[in-house]
Symmetry: C2
Subunit: 209 residues, 2 copies
DNA sequence: CCCTAATCTTGACGATGGAAAGAGGCGAAA
DNA sequence: TTTCGCCTCTTTCCATCGTCAAGATTAGGG
């Protein structure tokens, strides 16, 4: 009954295998090219096998998106910690920018998944786990802003959270969609991203004082 | 020429009709729910009729996206003009914010089309018309920034263009995806959007001087 | 040792995108 | 005017898709 690591019989870890193959497939073919059958094929099972683990293809996508949000939150926290450790003069501002770096890095590393997570389709699925995971990311944003401008009014904080979140999300989105820096090198793009984070942080700080 | 009862064998305006029904279908069903056959059905023709006008379903989507960019550019210019006419103290700053308002208004009015335009899928299609239309929107951004801070360095201008574009695009994207303002009223959301535009414009102005 | 229930396979259904072939109608050349 | 070519649309067909309904398989409790 209680198998901690889930050790079913025929395949073993079909659910995990489907999530793994599905994630790769998503990055390869994009949202429109994603098919459940190809997913099953890559996991080495028949086309109807996924039905037991996922009620529908949307269920699988929702789970992928939810895990993506978890991973995104982890990437943000990790990079924020790393930035804070560097011992900048202002730790909270460093964390804010670090979180932005983590956000962008995750998006750049998982462009199709990132798009799925923030897609209208994902929004349509009613998956509580997905909504909760997304909320966690938003909470990280709010907390980072709170740390930088703790004495500002609630309205200012909200507006700066809007602002910071929008800048970072918008920049990396436009970049991934090819709307920014067509022929620029990866190094140049990183510089542009960092410059954007600086301007964002400066605006937040100013609004708080 | 108009036979309302008996459909003529030759539709006459099938291409336009498909684009119209396709656009409505896109907003209704989303990118994943979009089908060529339903498109044809709504235009009153057989499922293979679109083949002559569009080489593939991606061709149709590319055309929809390209026209979306044209419309977006028009919305931006129109709203910028309207803002400038209001006689603000600084006309160029007013235009910049007005363009942002036009951008957001178009996105809010055509959420699915907007997402298609900025989707990885659209990016995959090699449609020169699409790329050109997107470039026109980017040029509008750059021009608005140029007008506000004409004496700044090229690098500053680029970074502020990044910043302005990212803020506006990110905010409206997150809003449409339900990541911002879950229970807020439409009025409150507009206020948040305007506040964001103010903060954005202020940052640009400060960076230029 | 066997029996139940969870897991996976096979097969089927309607729907999709696209190709192929045929039918219908417009307009230019005779 | 008549004829013929070409563009447009329909019909038919195919491989694939998601999902459902059965049947097969096997793990593990009784």
């Amino acid at each position: 009954m209680e198998r901690s690591k889930a050790q079913p019989y025929h395949h073993g870890q079909l659910r995990e295998a489907l999530l793994t193959s599905g994630r790769a497939l998503l990055e390869e073919k994009g949202i429109r090219g994603f098919t459940l059958r190809e997913c099953a094929r890559r996991a080495g099972v028949s086309h109807a096998a996924p039905a037991y683990h996922f009620a529908s293809i949307d269920d699988l996508l929702a789970e992928l998106a939810a895990r993506g949000f978890d991973e995104l939150a982890a990437a943000m926290t990790a990079e924020a910690d790393r930035s804070a450790d560097k011992g900048a003069e202002d730790a909270s501002t460093g964390r804010l920018m670090g979180q932005g770096v983590g956000y962008m890095a995750f998006a750049a590393g998982n462009p199709a998944l990132f798009q799925l997570m923030f897609s209208r389709e994902a929004n349509r699925l009613d998956a509580p786990a997905l909504a909760a995971a997304a909320e966690k990311v938003r909470a990280l944003h709010a907390a980072a802003i709170e740390a930088v401008i703790p004495h500002a009014s609630g309205e200012i904080k909200q507006r700066m959270a809007d602002f910071a979140g929008a800048s970072v999300h918008g920049f990396i989105s436009l970049l991934l969609e090819g709307q920014i820096g067509g022929r620029d090198s990866s190094r140049a793009l990183k510089a542009r991203g960092l410059a954007l984070l600086s301007a964002m942080a400066e605006t937040v700080v100013r609004a708080g004082g």
